[in-house]
Symmetry: C2
Subunit: 323 residues, 2 copies
């Protein structure tokens, strides 16, 4: 019987030992790791590996390195963004304090490295560490660009796409590449899987931007219109700013960077301009472009079509509006 | 001609490339690395290696991993401690902001790992990474204990000594062990050097506590009495609290945890009690104990006495009150 990747991950996650004392250094790690989430990154590692091997056991701990790293970035990002909630629960800096969040996050990054190097065979170790470190630095670069863009007046669409590539997409790409590499895939196949993951990540982030404006409040999980209320320079807003008439520019200027008197009115006014400029179909077209590019990379991987089915299915699920 | 360890380090430090864009992610790294300091940790790595080899070149970059890691901890510690100055210059969170300090620090930890794994031979890599990671987590534990002790009413002397061991001493021990390991030393010799470094670190930190109270303002570099003013639970204060008479306890209670009316009066009153209790000779005795233990470990290392001279000299220098 094929092992079920999700249950492999859940069991291994329960068994991870991050450390004990001081309690306020290690409890926050257990806390944020227990908040759940899709475990998307380690799942991608296992599904990337499953293309080439049935022996997923040795991939589980390296896969969890991507999950621990991801949660480290959430922990520090939540502090930097002053976010009160993460998955509906108090963030670490709220439940403990800012200093605990800084230091627990630091130890999480160390633990992520340990999960990798303790569980990767020696010949593959330098390459895996090099790619993990490159990805880790890129994710930090993406977060810094994201924060910088909050106060920059001119952000271009290519700059925005590069930011979400670094902040979100490269880690999905690395997770897949890692699984393929550990399962003995060729460099070409590992690279196609990396690009598959990166393109899926870009499509997924743009879809998130779109749902923020056009999503169903019941299923989106965040406040619809939140990006508009906070003047977030998303693909939608940057495209609108680039294509707006003088009148539309004037209306946008009434709301952007101004104190919010009526949040609902702001959301409706900005969304009306998006509608006039057909921002939604333009965004959907770009999402589809990345999604098709991703599928083409998956297509090119030298593995039986039946083995690609779970990855194909996961990609479709990620693009499903109800997900 | 023997290579000069310090100039090897200085040149390699100048050539390190941390990254370029975004500038406010990488400039803070260059900034804090440029503030100088004794470069004690990488020097210990090279001097530890020099006991066993003349070829220090391959040890330089792994040595710098300890320096980048150390500066990463300074960057995050300064933020957590809200320190305005580092080596007389504005700290990163003051010169930029808290978020930049968090994220630049995160990337520094990644760069420290890169300096290690890119420059250590494959057979030694797992052990070196394991010990580096263990040390890194211990340094974070030490910082967390240090912060916890600020608000804890009962801190014991063993707890304090364990805190400074984790926060300061283990990294000095690791730096020496790393140099020995990379130079082909036996596990026994590497372990003796680790303990030499750890004991020197403990002696050095206790000496710093002592100089804070009894140092010469002209050469100490920090405000004499700073620990007393901030109620820092140092070895001196904890020993005094353990040995004070009822009358001395009452005097201490007048000052500790109270709003400061006259800082100089507080320093003089607490120092007077230290004098009555002979805290200075007691501290000097413990420093000397650690220092002698350190020298015994160095003694036991299987290397020619002449080769040990630079380490012996450096240890004496670190204990020199004028240093």
């Amino acid at each position: 019987m094929q092992p079920d990747p999700s249950s492999l991950l859940q069991q291994a996650l329960r068994e991870l030992d991050y450390g004990q004392q001081p309690a306020n250094l290690y409890d926050p790690i257990r806390y944020i790791m227990s908040l759940g989430g899709k475990r998307l990154r380690p799942l991608l590692t296992l599904l990337g590996g499953q293309l080439f091997t049935d022996e997923l056991g040795p991939l589980v701990k390296p896969a969890l390195a991507t999950e621990v790293f991801h949660n480290f970035t959430l922990l520090h990002d939540d502090l930097m963004d002053q976010a009160p909630l993460r998955r509906g629960q108090p963030t670490v800096h709220e439940k403990w304090n800012a200093n605990v969040a800084i230091l627990s996050g630091d130890v999480m990054l160390v633990r992520a490295y340990e999960l990798l190097f303790e569980n990767v065979s020696l010949p593959l170790l330098p390459q895996v560490l090099r790619r993990f470190s490159q990805t880790a630095a890129e994710v930090c670069e993406g977060q810094q660009w994201d924060m910088n863009f909050e106060t920059e007046t001119t952000v271009t669409i290519p700059q925005y796409l590069d930011m979400i590539r670094l902040k979100t997409a490269v880690l999905l790409g690395f997770a897949l590449e890692l699984g393929a590499t550990l399962a003995g895939a060729s460099a070409t196949d590992a690279e196609h899987l990396r690009q598959f993951g990166t393109d899926i990540g870009l499509a997924f982030q743009l879809r998130d931007d779109l749902l923020d404006v056009y999503g169903d409040a019941a299923t989106f999980g965040k406040r619809v219109g939140g990006d508009i209320i906070s003047d977030k320079k998303t693909f939608l807003l940057l495209t609108a700013l680039a294509q707006a008439t003088a009148a539309q520019q004037a209306t946008l200027a009434q709301y952007l960077g101004q104190p919010i008197l009526d949040a609902e009115a702001k959301v409706q006014a900005v969304r009306a301009i998006y509608d006039e400029l057909h921002i939604r179909p333009q965004t959907e077209a770009l999402i589809n472009e990345y999604f098709q590019a991703a599928l083409q990379h998956l297509e090119r991987v030298a593995a039986p079509a039946a083995r690609k089915q779970p990855l194909h299915h996961l990609a479709l699920q990620l693009m499903d509006r109800e997900n």
